[in-house]
Amino acid sequence: MTLIMVVDDDQDLAEMLGIVLTSSGFDVDMVSRGDEALEIFRNNPPDLVLLDVMLPGIDGIEVCRLIRKESMVPIVMLSAKGETQDVVRGLEAGADDYMQKPFRDKAELIARIRTRLRRTNSDVTGLLSIGDITIDVTAHEVRRGAALIQLTRLEFDLLVALAKDPGRVFTRDALLSEVWGYRQTTDTRLVNVHVQRLRSKVEHDADRPEIIMTVRGVGYKAGGAA
């Protein structure tokens, strides 16, 4: 069974999330305080974390940063504040995706969770390369030379999406649909923040990217082979 850890201080919402997730076939671990989240996370590592931004103890963004330090588990932030700043802070702290309360419907929540839990594209296998980076899709490993680069599953998916189609320029919308599974959205901040994060891990110099190139006014593409 897939275990989802729900961190939310609103008991009723947490319970409701529990009902919805359980009825969709997930196991649910509920935590109501930010400062308890990390310990419970360590004791019983979940497959995905649903994390509210406003929490008693320490706030969700800090919890996200702490979890990210020791795990590549998918994290989806729940935010009552749709303000740009909160969303970007959450994403920068390591969240893969965010959902703004109230959710459009429960199907959307479940769809997002499933996308994050899904194994990487099954249509790509074997080795891919992008710049001086080698991606072993099957083993889910990214290396520069012999050195292993630690990526979250989402970052890995983003890199694979770009690498498997080296000539193509991806618009932010295209990446949103390919990597995040959004059918329709216009929030491209998600892509921007994750590209920045991925660059900080795979580029030699994140200010002069050679792996993930920006195509001004359009989107991103994979850099040429070194």
Binding site: D10, D12, V20, A80, K101, P102, F103, K106, R172, D187
Partner: protein, 522 residues
């Protein structure tokens, strides 16, 4: 020239200095020329009297000589007259130069002997014509001023005094004594030069003094203007310095009191409005969490509705629908509170606006529950790329389309896109119930409904159009409305093609193109 004109228009100092200079130039030149003519006249008058006295004496002498020569031979008489000329005139060129001329009167009968003679080499022609005419008329002594010309080409300002004289065997002659005015001219020249130099210096000094004085007045005024300007730009801490007890200080004190009062008022209002906005924002945020729970709960119930009693099932449907509406209202309220707090920010990207419109139109067409409506998108170009906040433009389009669908009464809706190099115009035209004039003025008001008793078709929040207007204005764009009862409405969005720029024209006018034609044929 233009710079001077601008400087005149905008600088008090330049204007004051220039007008002072012009006025003092007039005064100095008037007094200068009056002084000059008084002095010059005086100098000439003094020398004239003595010259005339001398001339009378000389003429008397000449007549005596002529009388004495009565019995002489012609040659001896000539000799005597020549000696008289030499004696009377000065020899060589000195300051008090004096010449004598004997010249035959014009019109006198010609005689064999000519007694015409002159001292030095002065030309007879230098005698002023009008003087000769006067002398011809009567026997009195006459005088005139004019230049004495010499054969060497020299010319000296002089006083000519003359009268008639009868020379035996010679007939009617005229005798002239010419007094050089060289000294007087030099004095007058000196005076005029001094006056000119003094005048120029005076004007320069007056200009300098004016500049110094004006600066004293203008500098604090400029300083005050600078401070007021900074105050206007939002730096409410700016105050004027009070350094004296004069009128400027009074101005500074009053200004500072006003500034303090304004600052206090603004701070108070800012505080009030911040509290108000934070309250609205907090309320909206606080409502979100329970709303999320409610939505999920209602959905769980809704999914099970087939197993419910029909009344309960219908209730669950109403619950879901009203929660939807509640959520939309909440979102719109939050958006309005962002505009009110002026925290709404533009996040521009490049995108194709026609693609966006087609997508929005398709979503509405799919909207299922409503009877199929026809949304036509018309554009000259296939793709119009603009740089704008796509989320906001999409929201404007959805609001406009949703509004049009609500009022179209099942008739078609036409979306027209016209782009220029700098603007894009998007017109949404429906042919439904339309708007009357009073409605047009209020159509962008929050929560305004055309007819409060009318049933809402799509359950809009009543905030859509006002948010659309705010969104358009945030882009420096504009949203115009046109409508006629039963002839439909036309909403035109005009946006700059590049975020941050201004719109200079409206590619689509608010009055729809098809309106006049309709009126014509009806």
């Amino acid at each position: 020239m233009n710079r001077l004109r601008r400087s005149l228009k905008h600088s008090l100092a330049t204007r004051v200095i220039l007008s002072t200079l012009l006025l003092s130039l007039t005064v100095v030149s008037l007094t200068g020329s009056a002084l000059y003519s008084r002095l010059a006249d005086g100098i000439l008058a003094t020398s004239l009297n003595s010259s005339l006295a001398e001339a009378r004496y000389t003429f008397f002498n000449a007549e005596y000589q002529v009388l004495a020569s009565q019995s002489m031979t012609i040659e001896a008489r000539k000799q005597a007259l020549a000696e008289f000329v030499v004696r009377t005139s000065t020899q060589g060129i000195n300051e008090e130069r004096r010449e004598v001329i004997f010249v035959k009167s014009p019109g006198a009968p010609t005689t064999a002997n000519s007694y015409e003679m002159s001292s030095n080499v002065i030309k007879n022609s230098s005698i002023p014509k009008n003087l000769r005419a006067q002398i011809k008329k009567d026997a009195k002594l006459h005088y005139a001023y004019g230049p004495a010309k010499y054969n060497e080409g020299e010319s000296i300002d002089s006083l000519f005094v003359g009268r008639r004289i009868i020379i035996p065997t010679g007939g009617r002659y005229e005798i002239y004594i010419i007094f050089s005015l060289k000294n007087q001219t030099a004095t007058v020249d000196l005076i005029s030069n001094s006056l000119l130099i003094t005048g120029v210096a005076l004007i320069f000094l007056i200009g300098l003094i004016t500049w110094l004085v004006v600066r004293q007045v203008v500098r604090p005024v400029r300083e005050a203007a600078r401070i007021a300007n900074q105050f206007t730009q939002g730096d409410f801490t700016q105050r004027m310095k009070v350094v004296s007890t004069d009128e400027m200080a009074t101005l500074a004190i009053s200004y500072n009191e006003m500034a303090l009062s304004i600052e206090e008022q603004i701070t108070r209002l800012e505080h009030l409005s911040r509290v108000q906005q934070r309250f609205v924002s907090d309320v909206t945020h606080e409502l979100r969490t329970p709303l999320t729970t409610l939505r999920m709960a209602s959905e769980v119930i809704h999914v099970q509705r087939s197993s419910f009693d029909p009344l309960v099932a219908r209730s669950s449907e109403l619950l879901v629908a009203q929660l939807d509406r509640f959520e939309r209202l909440l979102e719109d309220l939050l958006e309005v509170s962002r505009f009110d707090a002026e925290v709404a920010v533009l996040e521009p990207v490049d995108f194709d606006v026609i693609g966006l419109i087609n997508r929005c139109a398709a979503d509405f067409d799919m909207g299922g529950s409503a009877p199929t409506r026809d949304i036509q998108v018309e554009a000259d170009e296939e793709c119009v790329t603009i740089n704008a906040d796509i989320r906001r433009v999409e929201r404007i389009m959805r609001n406009l389309l949703s509004n049009a669908l609500d009022h179209a009464e099942g008739k078609k809706i036409v979306v027209n896109v016209v782009a220029t190099d700098t603007e894009v115009g998007i017109g949404v035209r429906d042919y439904g119930s339309g708007l009357d004039e009073s409605a047009l003025t209020r159509v962008f008001d929050r929560f305004w409904r055309e007819d409060p008793s009318r049933a809402r078709v799509r359950g809009g929040t009543g905030l859509g159009l006002s948010i659309a207007l705010e969104d358009a204005r945030l882009h420096n764009g504009e949203l115009d409305a046109w409508g006629r009862p039963h002839q439909g409405a036309h909403f035109v969005l005009t946006l700059p093609r590049k975020a941050g720029e201004l719109i200079n024209s409206r590619p689509i006018k608010a009055t729809p193109k098809d309106f006049h034609q309709e009126a014509f044929y009806q």
